[in-house]
């Protein structure tokens, strides 16, 4: 059993099952917590938008997610036992695959941002590991993958700074002291970092190939250094904005130092 668990963690396929299961469990628990918390609020003031029926629907959804999560977690270990059921197994497997796909859609954009940044770093790292021709091909598939989160983060930053903060500021009279100027300043910083990180990503995604070509032609080492610095700034911003993206931020920094060495 222990070996199986170990294998599950280190094997890609099992890792995905484990990840999906845990993630579904988290979301299920979160919705459950939210529903239980909202039950205590005077819902009638939110009528008809939120009512006990809606809460119950969310509660059921939460339990389905929790059940699915648990099942996905243990699926790799019981797979062999239920494989003999054939038809039900086929349906269960299909449902699991579907839910895995849906789950990964729910993962915050921060993760993709982290991956994008990582790929950008890799594209610069390539200089030392691959030939220039291969490097171009390596960098290209990631352009869109970087550009979209970049635009998303610029929009998110603008949304926070230009809409959310003014709206909260307008309502501060009612929401104080829960909402105060410290929170508003933090939100502003959040918005700013998001805009800067997003802009860096957009720049990186559009310029990567050009930069590589430029460097190839004129040996612009400085440009590459500059891009690397931008990536580091972006990754630090990412760590600050998204606790979820911390893993990627740290990985990114570690890779950068490994690259330097």
């Amino acid at each position: 059993m222990l070996i199986k668990v170990k294998n599950a963690i280190i094997t890609l396929k099992y890792s995905l099952y484990l990840a999906t299961g845990l993630y579904q469990l988290t979301i299920g628990l979160f919705i459950n917590l939210l529903v239980n918390f909202l039950m205590g609020v005077s819902l009638i003031v939110l009528y008809p938008y939120i009512n006990p029926n809606i809460l119950m629907i969310f509660q059921i959804l939460a339990w389905i997610l929790i059940a699915f999560g648990c099942y996905t977690l243990i699926f790799p270990f019981i797979k062999d036992c239920i494989k003999q059921w054939k038809y039900p197994f086929y349906i269960i497997h299909l449902l699991l695959k579907l839910s895995m796909g849906l789950t990964f859609l729910l993962i915050p954009f921060g993760i993709f941002l982290g991956i994008s940044l990582r790929s950008e770093l890799k594209s610069s790292k390539v200089k030392k590991n691959y030939e220039t021709e291969k490097r171009n091909k390596y960098a290209c598939p990631y352009t869109m993958f970087t550009l979209i989160p970049g635009i998303f983060h610029i929009l998110l930053g603008l949304l926070v700074s230009s809409f959310l903060v003014p709206i909260i500021l307008e309502e501060i009279d009612f929401l104080f002291p829960y909402v105060n100027y410290t929170l508003i300043n933090l939100l502003n910083i959040y918005g700013l970092i998001s805009i800067i990180s997003g802009s860096l990503l957009v720049i990186c995604s559009i310029w990567t190939n050009s930069l590589i070509q430029l460097e190839k032609t004129y040996n612009f080492t400085r440009f590459f250094k500059f891009i690397q610095i931008l990536i580091i700034i972006g990754s630090i911003g990412l760590i600050i904005i998204y606790p979820f993206g911390t893993y990627f931020g740290i990985t990114l920094l570690l890779e950068f130092y490994r690259l330097k060495q």
């Binding site: 890609l12 990840a19 469990l25 005077s42 009638i44 990582r118």
Partner: protein
């Protein structure tokens, strides 16, 4: 190349999987910690409904609808669920209306049934929902007394709750003393919002959060409990505790599509019932306020309130302490004038009562009974006029007009009392009499009328004042914006008060800002009178004032103990007394005393200035009168303030138009759009 891509995709998936595991593990840890309070711990709810039949002051059909619709239907719903304890707060006048009207027999019976089976808790302290922080303690006490009588009359006095939420969430430090009055009988706990408690907390001190605090008045040695309520549920006193419905009961289930206000949307009420059923199915307990207080006391969830909260309302930041009720006019009221008119009515009624007390022994029992019923009617009309609905959050013209009319009718009752007395007591058969409430002296000859001040010099300018005074007003037409100013050096008649032995010279500052003379014309939008020290080393960071209901004492308060923004502190000053000590520990300093019977508005308190402002339209001429004393002792200044505002000699008459203060009704009649 294909191999490379495959390696990259595999690496991408692995990254995704690992990050998801990491995120999920962190999240599950956080959620488990937060969820443990919600999922595992017991949960309870305190259901609270605030009712106010004066929601539309002066509209009797509205009163009727509030009783028949939201109040009755809510009680009917609760009757079906005996385990759901709940609290209803209302003015005693609402109880009077329900219990004194045969048409409401079934509503009365339902109320009694729920109270007797200890499911419904009745919170009721005042006869009328007075804006009590604007007036002195005796007004509050009178209001308490009438409520006592009403509840006692219907056998509810010993059943009322020991907790109370005052109208508009009013809070005053002096409640700790006044609620120890015999008229408050068992009331020992005041509900205060989390926003009030946290908003006025010294930002540099981190006080532990408790559901209940003890509030002490060291000035009198009295204390009360302060019960914190919040709109969001939280873990406190061993429960995941929530307050369910803290708002106005009248509009809780209102059908927005109905032609009339306060008609209940049955579907909405049903949804509310479902909400509570859902809670009950989760093992939720339902507490009344007093049960919650008892529980908190039992588990020791009680702290001590170690900072001063100035007079304020719920949503204290949105309403800026007392600003909304005593400085923010609207197109139908001038708050300062409304409050001053009510204040003047206090002097008239109290003066009339002094005259009656003095001569009642010579009256027949029949006349005494007539006069006493007139006094009751006058007092009740006047107390209703003091309710917070006549100023404050968007009062309708009818509410302003009703308050005006109530005061006028109260004055008429006073004049009728004096007529009855004059018919039987020859010495009272004069045009006007003056009553000195301090000595309870009555003067029937104009030559004997006392004056508190003697004018020494009436040709002064603003520069002659010991403080810088800046006046400003904004509006569409500058011609009308110039205020009329009169500054006089006066001497307080020291023989008036044995305690003030020295000669007390002071400045009298009168400023009259012209109004638009039309209730629907807000073109003269704002006025302000700002006081600042000439000596730049002096400021208003430390001041002394009389907390409302404790007009005979003073309290030192520090501006840096409160947030500056978004919290603007407006001090209502129920006796008009403001004292700025020479240094923070000195008992001598500068006093600015506002004559609140002229115009009763709040002061904006900032580090470097104090400012009287009125916004959102000036309609009647705004006459602000101040007395300024420099290098005066705090005791002298306080005695003078109380003499001017609380116990001034007052002229009354058997002819209502000759009563001091009645002259404003001639102005009221001239103003455009007076009638709603």
């Amino acid at each position: 190349m294909r191999l490379n891509n495959r390696v990259q995709i595999k690496s991408l998936y692995k990254s995704l999987a690992l990050s998801t595991i990491l995120i999920s593990v962190i999240n599950i840890g956080i959620l488990s910690y937060l969820g443990s309070f919600v999922w595992i711990g017991p949960r309870c709810t305190t259901c609270f409904f605030h009712f106010n039949i004066d929601y539309r002051l002066g509209q009797e059909d509205t009163e009727d609808r509030i009783i028949r619709e939201p109040y009755f239907k809510l009680l009917e719903m609760y009757e079906k669920h005996p385990n759901w304890a709940f609290t209803v707060e209302c003015q005693a006048e609402m109880i009077f209306k329900i219990f004194n009207n045969t048409e409401y027999e079934h509503i009365k019976n339902l109320t009694l049934n729920l109270i007797n089976r200890e499911q419904m808790e009745l919170q009721c302290a005042l006869q009328f929902s007075e804006l009590f922080y604007a007036y002195p303690a005796d007004v509050f006490e009178l209001n308490l007394r009438y409520a006592n009588l009403t509840l006692d009359n219907f056998g509810l006095l010993d059943k009322r709750s020991n907790c109370i939420l005052f109208q508009e969430g009013q809070f005053a430090y002096g409640l700790a003393t006044l609620l120890n009055s015999p008229y408050a009988s068992n009331i020992d706990t005041v509900l205060v919002s989390a926003q009030q408690l946290k908003g006025f907390q010294n930002p540099n001190i981190n006080q532990q959060d408790y559901p209940i605090y003890y509030l002490f008045n060291p000035e009198t040695g009295n204390s009360i409990k302060v019960l914190q309520y919040d709109y969001l549920p939280k873990w406190e006193a061993g429960y995941f505790h929530s307050w369910n419905y803290l708002y106005d009961g009248e509009i809780a289930f209102e059908d927005k599509d109905a032609k009339e206000e306060f008609i209940v949307d049955d579907e909405k009420l049903k949804v509310y019932e479902q909400e509570l059923e859902l809670l009950e199915s989760r093992g939720n307990l339902f507490f009344s306020c007093s049960e919650w207080v008892e529980h908190c006391k039992k588990v020791g969830a009680v702290g001590i309130l170690n900072y001063h909260i100035p007079e304020c309302n719920w949503a204290n930041v949105e309403y800026n302490s007392s600003y909304t009720w005593a400085a923010k006019n609207s197109d139908s009221t001038d708050d300062g004038e409304m409050l001053a008119n009510n204040y003047r009515c206090r002097q008239i009624i109290f003066a009339t009562k002094i005259v009656y007390e003095k001569y009642k022994s010579g009256l027949s029992s029949e006349n005494r009974s007539i006069i006493e019923s007139y006094i009751i009617q006058a007092e009740k009309l006047w107390l209703q006029a003091t309710c917070s609905d006549s100023t404050g959050v968007g009062p309708d013209p009818i509410e302003r007009y009703t308050a005006e009319l109530n005061v006028l009718n109260a004055q008429m009752f006073c004049s009728q009392i004096l007529q009855i007395l004059a018919d039987r007591v020859p010495e009272l058969n004069v045009t006007q009499i003056q009553v000195d409430p301090i000595n309870r002296a009555i003067f029937n000859a104009k030559s004997d009328f006392i004056s508190l001040i003697n004018i020494l010099d009436s040709n002064l300018t603003l520069i002659d004042l010991p403080l810088n005074v800046f006046l400003s007003s904004t509006g569409q037409d500058r011609f009308y914006l110039e205020p009329k100013i009169k500054i006089r050096l006066i001497r307080y008649n020291s023989s008036d008060d044995a305690m003030i032995s020295t000669v007390l010279d002071l400045y009298q500052l009168d400023i009259v800002f012209p109004g638009s003379q039309d209730w629907q014309n807000d073109s003269l939008s704002e006025l302000s009178i700002k006081f600042q020290f000439k000596n730049k080393e002096r400021d208003f960071k430390v001041i002394r004032y009389s907390p409302t209901l404790l007009e005979n004492t003073t309290k030192k308060i520090f501006r840096n103990h409160y947030y500056h923004d978004p919290l603007y502190i407006f001090l209502i000053l129920s006796n008009g007394f403001l004292f700025i000590p020479s240094n923070s520990s000195s008992l001598f300093g500068t006093a600015i005393i506002k004559n609140v019977t002229k115009r009763h508005t709040s002061w904006l308190w900032e580090d470097n200035f104090m400012k009287v402002i009125e916004t959102d339209g000036i309609h009647l001429n705004a006459h602000h009168q101040f007395y300024i004393m420099d290098n005066v002792s705090i005791e002298q200044a306080l005695r003078f303030a109380n003499r001017i505002n609380l116990h001034p000699p007052w002229i009354i008459s058997k002819n209502v138009s000759m009563i001091q203060g009645n002259e404003v009704y001639r102005l009221y009649e001239q103003i455009e759009n007076r009638l709603p």
